[in-house]
C-alpha cells in the first residue's frame, strides 16, 4: 500500500493543483514586485507588471533568474522578507563558482521539511523506521533537510552527518537503521566498505535509501541496491529553492514527482530560452510560489531533464521529472561533441566496471583528449593479458558508440581514484584555452 505524507496534496486533482499554482503565483509575483527591487527592475525592463500575471499561463512573460543574478544580488538582493523574520541560512558548496546563500523564515523551513517528509514516506518510511542521515550537516542543505523530514515522519533519526565510514556502519548495524540518506557516491562507498568487511546484504538492516545532491545513473542505482540490499530512491533539490525535496521518487522509481504546490516547473530550450512541450528534453526552470524569504521566479537550474504528466502507478498526481541527464555546466564539449559524465558512467557500469571513475580532459596539439580512468578490481583481473586488453577495447568501443568520439581507457590500481564522502570529483579538465 502506497503511503503519503500529505495525501490530500500529493494526490490532488490536476485542476486543484493548477488552482493552487494560479493563486499562489499571482500573490508571489506581487510580493516580489513589492519587496525585491532587483527583480522588479527586471520586470520593468521586460515591460511586465504584476497585473499582467493572472495565472500559470502568464508565467512565460516573467524574466528569468540565473546563477549570475544570484551572484550579482549577493547576499541580500533577492530577499523578500526582512532579516528579522529569517531564522536560517544555507549555502551551496561553491563547486561551480561563488557561493549561493539562501535565507529561510520558520515557515520556509517548515514547508521544506514537509517536502523531505513526503520523500521519506514515499520511500516507505514511517515512525517505525530508524533513519540515518549521512548527508553533511551545516551549510549544505542535505543534512538539515532530511533531518527535518525524518523528524516530521517520526523516524528515529541518527544524525551521523558524512564521514567516518566505520562509525556509520557501526550505527547502521547496532541501531538497526532501516533508511539511509546520503549522496549516491557515499552510499556506494559505504556499500563497498561493508563488502570489504565481509557483510552480505542480509546482514545489513537497511531497506531503503534516499540519495541525491549529485547525478547518478540507473546502473549505479542497481549497484547500490544490490550491495546494500535496499531500494534506492532519488531525491532532487537546489539550495536556491530550499534544498532536497523539490522533487522525489516514489515506489515506481521512474522519475521524481515535483512538489507542484510549492514549485512550478518549466522546461526550456537552453539556447533560445523558449518553453518546450512535455516530453522534450531541456533546461529545468523553477518558480517558487510559497517561499517567503528567498522566492526565486523562473530560476534556471542548468539541469537538463524531461517532464512527464503521465499517470503514475503510485497515485501521486504531481508532474514527474526525469533524472537530470546532465548539467549545462557539467557538460563537457570535447572535439565539438557534448559529453555528460553520466553517459560515461552508464557505459562503465554496463560493462561491469565499478562506478568509481575519473574523466580527464586535456588538449594536446590543439586536439581535445578524453581519458577515462577506471580502477582494476579483483573480480576483473586475470593473468590473461589478452582478456584484459579485449575488455579494455570493448570499453573504448562502448564509449565511442555512446559519445560519438574516441576515448582512451586507462586501468589504474584499486583505491587510486579519490573516494568522496560528499560530492565526487569526476572530471578533471586540464585544457587551457
Amino acid at each position: 500500500m502506497e503511503r503519503y505524507y500529505q495525501p490530500e496534496i500529493e494526490t490532488a486533482s490536476r485542476e486543484q493543483i493548477k488552482a493552487w499554482q494560479d493563486e499562489r503565483l499571482v500573490k508571489q509575483v506581487r510580493r516580489v514586485w513589492d519587496n525585491v527591487p532587483y527583480y522588479r527592475k527586471k520586470m520593468e525592463e521586460k515591460g511586465v507588471t504584476p497585473d499582467d500575471i493572472r495565472g500559470t499561463e502568464d508565467l512565460k512573460k516573467l524574466p528569468f533568474l540565473s546563477k549570475a543574478d544570484l551572484r550579482e544580488a549577493y547576499p541580500y538582493g533577492l530577499m523578500a522578507s526582512p532579516l528579522k523574520d529569517c531564522v536560517r541560512i544555507q549555502s551551496t558548496s561553491g563547486t561551480t563558482g561563488k557561493r549561493v546563500v539562501a535565507f529561510y523564515t520558520q515557515h520556509d523551513i517548515d514547508l521544506w521539511e514537509d517536502c523531505c517528509a513526503r520523500a521519506i514516506t514515499a520511500a516507505g518510511g514511517t515512525n517505525e523506521d530508524v533513519c540515518q542521515v549521512s548527508y553533511g550537516y551545516g551549510l549544505f542543505t542535505g543534512g538539515p533537510g532530511l533531518n527535518g523530514g525524518s523528524h516530521k515522519v517520526g523516524c528515529l533519526t541518527i544524525p551521523t552527518s558524512s564521514g567516518n565510514t566505520e562509525r556509520q556502519i557501526m550505527f547502521i548495524r547496532d541501531l538497526n537503521a532501516t533508511i539511509l540518506c546520503c549522496t549516491p557516491s557515499y552510499a556506494a562507498y559505504i556499500g563497498e566498505t561493508m563488502k570489504e568487511m565481509g557483510l552480505t546484504p542480509d546482514q545489513i538492516p537497511l531497506k531503503a535509501g534516499i540519495f541525491g545532491a549529485e547525478a547518478w545513473s540507473e546502473e549505479m542505482r542497481h549497484d547500490i541496491e544490490n550491495t546494500l540490499g535496499i531500494k534506492a530512491y532519488d531525491i532532487y533539490g537546489l539550495t536556491e529553492l530550499s534544498g532536497p525535496g523539490v522533487a522525489f521518487e516514489c515506489s515506481a522509481q521512474s522519475g521524481m514527482h515535483i512538489n507542484e504546490d510549492h514549485f512550478i516547473a518549466e522546461v526550456i530550450d537552453p539556447e533560445t530560452s523558449e518553453p518546450l512541450p512535455d516530453g522534450q528534453q531541456g533546461e529545468l526552470v523553477f518558480t517558487s510560489i510559497t517561499k517567503e524569504a528567498f522566492p526565486l521566479l523562473r530560476y534556471r537550474t542548468r539541469d537538463i531533464c524531461v517532464l512527464s504528466h503521465e499517470k503514475c502507478s503510485c497515485g501521486r498526481t504531481h508532474v514527474k521529472m526525469s533524472k537530470p541527464r546532465g548539467r549545462t555546466d557539467d557538460m563537457l564539449i570535447i572535439r565539438g561533441v557534448n559529453v555528460f559524465p553520466s553517459q560515461i558512467e552508464t557505459v562503465l557500469i554496463n560493462q561491469g566496471y565499478p562506478a568509481n571513475y575519473q574523466i580527464i580532459v586535456d588538449r594536446v596539439h590543439n586536439t581535445d583528449t578524453l581519458d577515462v580512468q577506471v580502477e582494476m578490481t579483483p573480480e576483473m583481473f586475470t593473468d590473461n593479458m589478452g582478456e584484459i586488453t579485449a575488455r579494455q577495447k570493448a570499453l573504448v568501443d562502448g564509449l565511442r558508440a555512446m559519445l560519438g568520439l574516441s576515448a582512451k581507457v586507462t586501468l589504474v590500481a584499486p583505491k587510486t581514484i579519490v573516494r568522496s564522502e560528499g560530492k565526487a570529483v569526476r572530471v578533471i579538465d586540464k585544457r587551457k584555452i
Partner: protein, 141 residues
C-alpha cells in the same frame, strides 16, 4: 604437479614495479622467478615465491590486485635442444602454451622454464609421459 604463480596488476607508471618489489622485500619474501608482461598502459608482474599464502596476504593488505595461476615448471638441460624437447612433447599432445619464461637456478648447467598452458593437469601428464618431471616447487638452489 603445478606450481603456483602470483600475477600482479601494475599501472604503467614510473615506480609501480618498485612499489611491488619494495613490499616483497619488506616482508622478506623470496622471489624464485619473475617475469613482466606489458601492454601500453598496464602490466602484469608474474612471480613465483617461497610462500604463496604469506605473499597473497601481504599483497591484499597493500591493495595490489592479483590472482594465483597454476603453471608448469621444469628443469631442462642447459644445452641446445633442451627447450625444444619440452615444447615438442606439449605440442604433440595438443597442449597450448600461452606464455613462458626462463630463469636460472644456482645449479650450474641447469636452466628452468615456467610454462602457462591451457590445461595444467594434461600438461603435467604429457611431460611425465616423456620422462620430464615437472617441479612441485621451485627449490632450485
Amino acid at each position: 604437479m603445478s606450481v603456483k604463480q602470483i600475477s600482479v596488476f601494475l599501472e604503467n607508471r614510473p615506480g609501480a614495479l618498485c612499489e611491488l618489489t619494495g613490499v616483497l622485500a619488506e616482508n622478506a619474501i623470496d622471489m624464485r622467478a619473475f617475469s613482466l608482461a606489458e601492454a601500453s598502459d598496464f602490466g602484469i608482474a608474474r612471480i613465483i615465491v617461497d610462500d604463496v599464502y604469506k605473499t597473497t596476504t601481504v599483497l591484499r593488505d597493500k591493495g595490489f590486485v592479483h590472482s594465483v595461476t597454476p603453471v608448469l615448471a621444469a628443469a631442462l638441460s642447459d644445452t641446445p635442444g633442451g627447450l625444444n624437447e619440452i615444447l615438442q612433447c606439449l605440442s604433440a599432445e595438443g597442449i597450448n602454451v600461452e606464455y613462458m619464461y626462463a630463469f636460472l637456478g644456482n645449479t650450474p648447467g641447469k636452466a628452468y622454464m615456467v610454462f602457462r598452458v591451457n590445461d595444467p593437469a594434461a600438461g603435467t601428464a604429457a611431460l611425465c609421459r616423456h620422462g620430464i618431471e615437472p617441479l612441485e616447487e621451485l627449490n632450485v638452489e
